[in-house]
C-alpha cells in the first residue's frame, strides 16, 4: 500500500507536485495517468525516497521507506530504463542490487529468465535497446519479490510481445496481493490493465477513481439511436439538459438521457427504433476532457 498525504515538491520556484494526496491499495493494478510534465515521475521518485518532498509525507506499506530495514522486500521500482550501469552486464547490474539484500544468484537468474533476457544476460547493458533496458529495469524491480511494485512508463519502447508480458505481469502481481502502481501517458494501455486510476495534471490530483467511474463520468458518454423517424423522435426527446444531434439519415446521438428513457419515450410515441446503444467515452476521451485545462504543453496551441 502507498499512502501519499499533502505531497509537494518544488524545484526553485517551479512546483512539480502540489499538495497531492491519494492511496494506492494492494491487490489491484492502479494506473497513474497524466500528460508529460504532470509530475508523475517526481511523485514516483519521492515514493522511493530519491527526492525529498518539500512538504507532505509518503508511506510505503505503512512505513517511512528510507527507514525500512529490508527495503527490497517493501518496494521494487522501475524509474527509467537508464538507471543501469552500461559498463556492467545485465547479470552484474542485477547481482549488485541483489547483494544488498542477501539475495542469491538463483533469484537473479530467475528474474533474468522472467524478463526474457537469458541470451543477453552476460553482455554489457550499454549496448541494450530501450526495450531491453526496460526489461532489465523491470527485472530489477522484481528481484526482492517486493510487496509494492512501482513502475514508471514500463511499456515505453517495448515491442508488442513485451507490452503483453507487462500486462500479464502486472495482473499476476496484483493477484498475489501486491500493490501495483504503474504510470503511463498511454490511456489505452491503462484501460487494458488498470482497475483504479489516479489522474494527475500540473502536479495536482485531478481524479482518483475506478476506471469505469472515470470513463462513465465523462460528459461525452451518450446513447446512439438508430431510427427512420429521426425528426419526430428528436422532438419527443427534447427536454432541458438533453441534447440530440442528428448524425446521418437514420442516426441520433443523444446525451443527457439514458437508453431506458429513450426506449420508453419511443415506445410511447409509437416510433420504431432499430438500435439503442449506450456509448462510453473511451479512456482516452475522458482523459483529454479531464486534463485539457491542466496540460503543461498544448501542442501548437499558442503559436
Amino acid at each position: 500500500m502507498i499512502e501519499i498525504d499533502g505531497l509537494t515538491k518544488r524545484y526553485g520556484d517551479k512546483t512539480a507536485v502540489d499538495g497531492l494526496s491519494f492511496v494506492v491499495e494492494p491487490g489491484v493494478v492502479t494506473g497513474f495517468l497524466g500528460p508529460n510534465g504532470a509530475g508523475k515521475s517526481t511523485t514516483m521518485r519521492m515514493i522511493a525516497g530519491l527526492d525529498r518532498p518539500t512538504s507532505g509525507t509518503v508511506r510505503v506499506n505503512g512505513k517511512h521507506y528510507p527507514g525500512a530495514a529490508a527495503p527490497m522486500a517493501e518496494l521494487g521500482i522501475l524509474l527509467d530504463a537508464r538507471s543501469v550501469h552500461p559498463g556492467l552486464s545485465a547479470r552484474n547490474n542485477l547481482l549488485a542490487l541483489a547483494r544488498t539484500a542477501g539475495i542469491g544468484r538463483r533469484r537473479v537468474d530467475e528474474v533474468i529468465e522472467l524478463a526474457g533476457l537469458g541470451e543477453v544476460a552476460g553482455t554489457r547493458a550499454g549496448g541494450f535497446s530501450l526495450g531491453m533496458g526496460q526489461r532489465l529495469g523491470v527485472a530489477a524491480a522484481l528481484l526482492g519479490r517486493p510487496q509494492t511494485v512501482v513502475l514508471d512508463e514500463p511499456v515505453n519502447g517495448l515491442d508488442p510481445d513485451g507490452v503483453l508480458w507487462i500486462r500479464l505481469l502486472l495482473k499476476s502481481l496484483a493477484a498475489e496481493g501486491r500493490t501495483v502502481f504503474v504510470s503511463s501517458h498511454l490511456m489505452s494501455e491503462m484501460a487494458q490493465t488498470a482497475t483504479r486510476l489516479v489522474v494527475l495534471g500540473r502536479g495536482r490530483l485531478i481524479s482518483e477513481s475506478s476506471v469505469e467511474d472515470f470513463t462513465g463520468h465523462a460528459t461525452t458518454a451518450g446513447v446512439l439511436v438508430r431510427t427512420p423517424e429521426t425528426g419526430r423522435l428528436g422532438q419527443v426527446l427534447a427536454a432541458p439538459g438533453v441534447t440530440v444531434i442528428k448524425d446521418g439519415t437514420d442516426l441520433l446521438r443523444v446525451t443527457g438521457a439514458t437508453a431506458e428513457e429513450i426506449g420508453t419515450a419511443a415506445w410511447r410515441a409509437h416510433l420504431p427504433v432499430y438500435e439503442l446503444t449506450p456509448t462510453h467515452a473511451s479512456l482516452e476521451e475522458a482523459f483529454m476532457q479531464v486534463t485539457k485545462d491542466s496540460t503543461e504543453y498544448h501542442a501548437g496551441a499558442t503559436r
Binding site: L50, P66, H85, S89, T100, A101
Partner: protein
C-alpha cells in the same frame, strides 16, 4: 466479511535486511566487474614497477652517501607513484561519478535508501583494492630496483636501512588515501569531467605551480595534500618538507576525512 478483515500475511518476499557487509559485497560486485577498474589497476602496476625499473636501470647507479640516503634512493625508484596517483584518482572519482553519469545511482540508492552505507562500502572496497595492489607493487618495485642498482655497481639497498620500509609501505598508504579523496570528489561533484579536473588540479597542477612560486609566499606548500602525504614516502616532488612523515600523512588523512564527511552530508541531504 471476516475473511477480509482478518490480518492477511503479506505476499511472499525473499529480500533480507540491508547490512553494511551486504552493501560492501554489492559494491565489490560492481567494482570488480568494471573494465575501468581493471585497466586502471593494470596501468598503475605498469607505472609503479615499470617506471621504477626504468629509472634504476638507466643513468648513474645510485650510491648512498650523507645527502643521498637509502630511503631517498628508494623514493626515486617510486617515481611512478606520482603518475599512478592520477590513474588511481580516476578509479576513486568514477566510483561515484560513474553512477551519477549513467543513472545507476538511482537504482543503487533505491535499494539502500538510508544511503550512507553505500558511501562507507565504496570507501571499504576501494581501500581494499588499492592497498594490497599498491603494496605488492611497491615491494616488487623495491626489489626490482635494488637488484638493478646493485647489478650496475650501485649501493646495495636493504629494507632494514633507515626509512626504507617506511618509504615503501608509505607510498602504498599514500595511494590508498588518494583513492578515498578521489571518491569524495566524485561524490561531491557528481560529474566525471569535473571530478577528474579538480583531482588532477589538486594533486598534479597546484603542487607544481606552488613549487615555482617565490619562497616567501609558499609557506602553505607543505600542507597541500600531495606534499603533506609525500612526506611519508619522501616524494621526489617534495624535496624538503618540514612536516615529519607521520604528521604529513595525518594532514593528508585530515583532508580525506573532511571531504568524505562533506560527501556524506551531501549524499544524505540532496536529491539523487
Amino acid at each position: 466479511m471476516s475473511a477480509i478483515t482478518q490480518a492477511r500475511p503479506g505476499p511472499a518476499t525473499i529480500a533480507g535486511p540491508v547490512t553494511q557487509v551486504r552493501v560492501v559485497r554489492a559494491e565489490w560486485t560492481k567494482l570488480r566487474a568494471l573494465r575501468s577498474t581493471r585497466w586502471c589497476t593494470l596501468v598503475s602496476v605498469v607505472l609503479i614497477v615499470g617506471l621504477g625499473a626504468l629509472i634504476a636501470g638507466s643513468g648513474t647507479a645510485y650510491h648512498v652517501s650523507a645527502s643521498n640516503t637509502a630511503a631517498k634512493g628508494v623514493s626515486v625508484a617510486l617515481l611512478g607513484v606520482l603518475f599512478a596517483q592520477l590513474v588511481i584518482g580516476v578509479v576513486g572519482v568514477l566510483a561515484f561519478s560513474g553512477e551519477y553519469g549513467t543513472g545507476m545511482i538511482r537504482a543503487t540508492l533505491a535499494v539502500v535508501p538510508s544511503r550512507l552505507p553505500v558511501l562507507w562500502a565504496k570507501v571499504i572496497v576501494l581501500a581494499g583494492l588499492v592497498l594490497p595492489v599498491t603494496l605488492v607493487c611497491a615491494f616488487v618495485d623495491f626489489f626490482a630496483a635494488t637488484a638493478l642498482v646493485s647489478s650496475r655497481g650501485g649501493s646495495v639497498l636493504s629494507l632494514t636501512d633507515p626509512g626504507v620500509l617506511q618509504t615503501v609501505v608509505g607510498s602504498s598508504l599514500y595511494l590508498t588515501v588518494v583513492v578515498i579523496i578521489g571518491l569524495a570528489m566524485g561524490a561531491l561533484l557528481r560529474k566525471t569531467a569535473a571530478g577528474l579536473s579538480v583531482f588532477a588540479a589538486v594533486f598534479f597542477v597546484v603542487p607544481i605551480v606552488v613549487g615555482a612560486l617565490p619562497q616567501n609566499i609558499r609557506g602553505f606548500a607543505p600542507y597541500l595534500p600531495s606534499n603533506a602525504g609525500g612526506a611519508l614516502w619522501d616524494s621526489p616532488l617534495n624535496a624538503a618538507n618540514p612536516l615529519s612523515p607521520w604528521t604529513g600523512f595525518a594532514v593528508l588523512c585530515g583532508y580525506a576525512v573532511v571531504l568524505i564527511a562533506a560527501a556524506a552530508w551531501r549524499l544524505r541531504r540532496r536529491d539523487a
